[in-house]
Amino acid sequence: MTAPLLEMQGIVKQFPGVRALDGVDLDVRPGEVHCLLGQNGAGKSTLIKVLAGAHQPDEGHITWQGERISLGDPQAAMTLGIATIYQELDLVAGLTVAENIFLGREHSRFGLTRPAAANRAAAELLGRLGHPEIRSTAEVGGLSAASQQMVSIARALSQDAKLIIMDEPSAVLDNEEVERLFGVIRDLTAHDVAVVYISHRLEEIRQIGDRITVLKDGRTVSTGLPARDTPTREVITLMTGRTIEYVFPPRRTRPHTDEAPLLDVQGLALRGRFSNVSFAVRPGEVVGLAGLVGSGRSEILETIYGARKATAGTVHLAGRRLRSGDVGAVVAAGIGLAPEERKSQALLLDDSVYRNITISSLGRFARGGFLSGGAEKAAARAQTESLDVRPADVTRIVRTLSGGNQQKVVLARWLLRDCKVLLLDEPTRGVDVGARSEIYALIRDLADRGVAVVVVSSEIPEVLGLADRVLVVADGAVVAEAGADELDEHRVLDLVMEGTAAHAAGPVGTQSEGDVA
């Protein structure tokens, strides 16, 4: 067995409020394609940034070719031969291909800038990658995403990279381009360059990968799995399953079939994302949407909420039709959303807890537009106390709270508004494992108070444990609907994979097919 090129052990990275990495192990051998799998928020991006020298780990150590190293900055990683190709390509659009490839190293290589030599060297690199059609004098901004990716890879090669990290390179490519990318990767590995390959698409990993490491909740849950013959079910279970058993709050015993639905979605569609989604939620009911990333589950929530304008279908709240694409009207009608990207979509991070809570109910604290700060704080305090937001100080800046407490602040905002319907997108994303049960209990408690709740989660056990009824979403369509107690994790996985396969077989778009997690 060859000695590992790179070994990471017990990497811990702490951010204010959450442990993004909590003990990650990874070893990469020369010339292998090592696939990194994990759901959004599992810690992949943070791990890549640690490897690229952009983040410094708080604990753990990294060994490179047998030597203990520390990557103080991106330059250090580059010098060692670790190159990263980010999802958002970091190329300068206005410069030529050759200029981009040798950006920052023009002089050391060629003395004075010698465009002709640079162009020749760039052409040679691109030729080696099997892409001689990319002209080295072309402006990068005018190239296709696939070609830009090749330029990034050429840049990595020009730096004599021994390890290239590719962050979801296939996300922007069509099938044929992916095939060509794989050709390049095979060529690289044949020359003993190792590749850390990140993708959500399992079939790609089967095709190109040698070994798999699965991350979950910032930890390595499995490392060194053979990429070709680990059963799909096992891989998905590793990603979506629970490493820790959670106690879910008990459901109300009776189903709520007798009551009129509070939220009624009929034939909702958003072009290119999902179509013909119909379901109803009664007061006190929790409906879960289970599905993989890219299945359209988040978009369904956002469309109901009015953050996206539906191309077809209707949403009724307590019998009243809601105008599509008008968040203000939807909020006024009594729907609240706790979005997936809490920090960028929900919170005013540098503002205090109470201001974040009252922002959607300002009218209540205002007389003639004038706010009563005291009443605001008192009302916010009542919420934070009942939700047990810690520390119990409503003037604290939200940025300094942990993920779980930030989520509680978002929930408090909607509780204060007396929302009738709550839409929760990945409610425990970025929430420390320990605090999740609290969030679960809270959601159930809300339902018991008569709120209709819709939960989206990529963790199937979470949906099954939390919801009364589950809708399985695959490739923009609801493929099954059943009571949560009629389903188990395996059944949902089967439905997800069937639904995805059924669509993948058809002439549907290539973007989301076969995504996992």
Partner: protein, 387 residues
């Protein structure tokens, strides 16, 4: 899967920034930040007294400073709202010119003479509001970058002012108008009183109303504000209308001070106003700022001009000093912000309290070691959590 056996824990997550580290006193913050500015102003005054003696400390001179500060001050109050709301308004100077010209045309003055001079005031305010409305609609609904939209308005409004006035200075004929605005109440010039009223109204609007709160939200995180149910586009329009109205008020004040309406009024006001707002501690990216800071910022620049003039220094030297002050003030602010963050981070390890001393390195001169940090100072170095 070594963790697999762990049972459910309902514990609080390990505290990351302990103690009171995260609590930046909302009361102490703005005061602390403005304290630095007030000290800078005080130093300027001391310099004024030392170099110009009684000529500076004279009550008439002080009133002159205040009178000069009042016009640009009103514009800066409007600008403060726009900038906190995440925008910028480059057209303010041109709007002052356009409003002053429109309010002093022969036709307007004729109507004013027939009815009441208030017609001129209303005209100026309406012109400002209308132009602000155009700014706002183009930016909020046309999705044009504020910089470009208001730059276009700057050019267009001044051009229109030239067309209307035929490039001539229009004299204000109405005696009553001039008597009212150029006069004083209990020895305090009306202009200064107007500035004070606008500042107080601005402070109340920003800090005590839903409008002000939404302004902070829209500027701080527009997407979060939108998803919280705030009508961000509508609010953006209101902000530019507000700025336009402030320009209208400033135009009236300038008409009274100069007894004219002219297409050259308010030249470069946009830069003076932005400078005052920025050294007043308002974040150019939006989401944070104070009215008090802006007022003190305006006073600093006006006092500076005055001290230089009293010492017979050229306006060119003033301009240089102004540039230096802008850079120093903003550098100092950043120092204080990151210094606080650093202190907070280290303190949090030992669970210390949040009231940190001033930044490292002992900031000198106008800044002073300011206790209390700008509200919501970002922790130095540590970025957002990546997802």
């Amino acid at each position: 899967m070594s963790e697999g056996a762990t049972t459910t824990r309902d514990t609080v997550p390990a505290p990351t920034s302990g103690g009171n580290g995260g609590k930046v006193g909302l009361m102490a913050g703005p005061v602390g930040r403005n304290l630095g500015l007030v000290i800078a102003l005080a130093i300027l005054c001391i310099v004024g007294v030392i170099t110009a003696g009684d000529r500076f400390a004279d009550i008439d001179n002080v009133l002159t400073i205040l009178r000069l500060a009042s016009v640009i001050g009103v514009v800066s109050i409007g600008m403060t709202f726009v900038i906190i709301g995440g925008g910028i308004d480059l057209s303010v100077g041109a709007l002052v010119a356009l409003s002053s010209v429109w309010a002093t045309t022969l036709a307007t003055q004729q109507i004013a003479e027939d009815t009441h001079w208030i017609v001129m005031v209303v005209t100026a305010l309406l012109v400002g509001a209308g132009a602000g409305l155009i700014n706002g609609v183009v930016i909020a609904y046309g999705k044009l970058v504020a910089f470009i939209a208001t730059l276009a308005m700057l050019a267009a409004a001044r051009g229109l002012a030239e067309i209307i006035s035929n490039r001539r200075t229009q004299i204000v004929q109405d005696r009553e108008f001039l008597d009212f605005f150029a006069g004083d109440v209990l020895g305090i010039p009306t202009l200064v009183i107007i500035f004070a009223l606008v500042a107080v109204a601005g402070w109340v609007l920003l800090n005590r109303t839903t409008f002000g709160r939404r302004t902070f939200a829209v500027g701080g995180n527009a997407e979060a504000a939108r998803l919280a149910g705030i009508r961000v586009q509508r609010h953006t329009v209101k902000l530019y209308v507000l700025s336009g109205v402030a320009c209208g008020i400033a135009a009236v004040m300038l008409m009274a001070r100069t007894t004219t309406g002219s297409s050259t009024h308010g030249t470069l006001y946009e830069l003076d106003a932005i400078a005052a707002v920025v050294i007043g501690g308002t974040l150019l990216l939006g989401g944070r700022g104070t009215i008090v800071g802006t007022v003190v910022g305006v006073l600093i620049f006006t006092t500076l001009n005055n001290v230089f003039t009293l010492n017979n220094l050229s306006s060119s030297a003033q301009a240089v000093a102004k540039g230096v002050i802008i850079v120093l003030a903003v550098l100092l602010q950043m120092r204080l912000a990151t210094g606080e963050g650093r202190v907070r981070n280290t303190k949090s390890l030992v669970g210390g309290s949040g009231s940190a001393p001033g930044g490292p390195g002992g900031p000198s001169g106008g800044g002073s070691a300011t206790p209390g940090a700008p509200a919501g100072a970002r922790p130095g170095g540590s970025g957002d959590l990546p997802t």
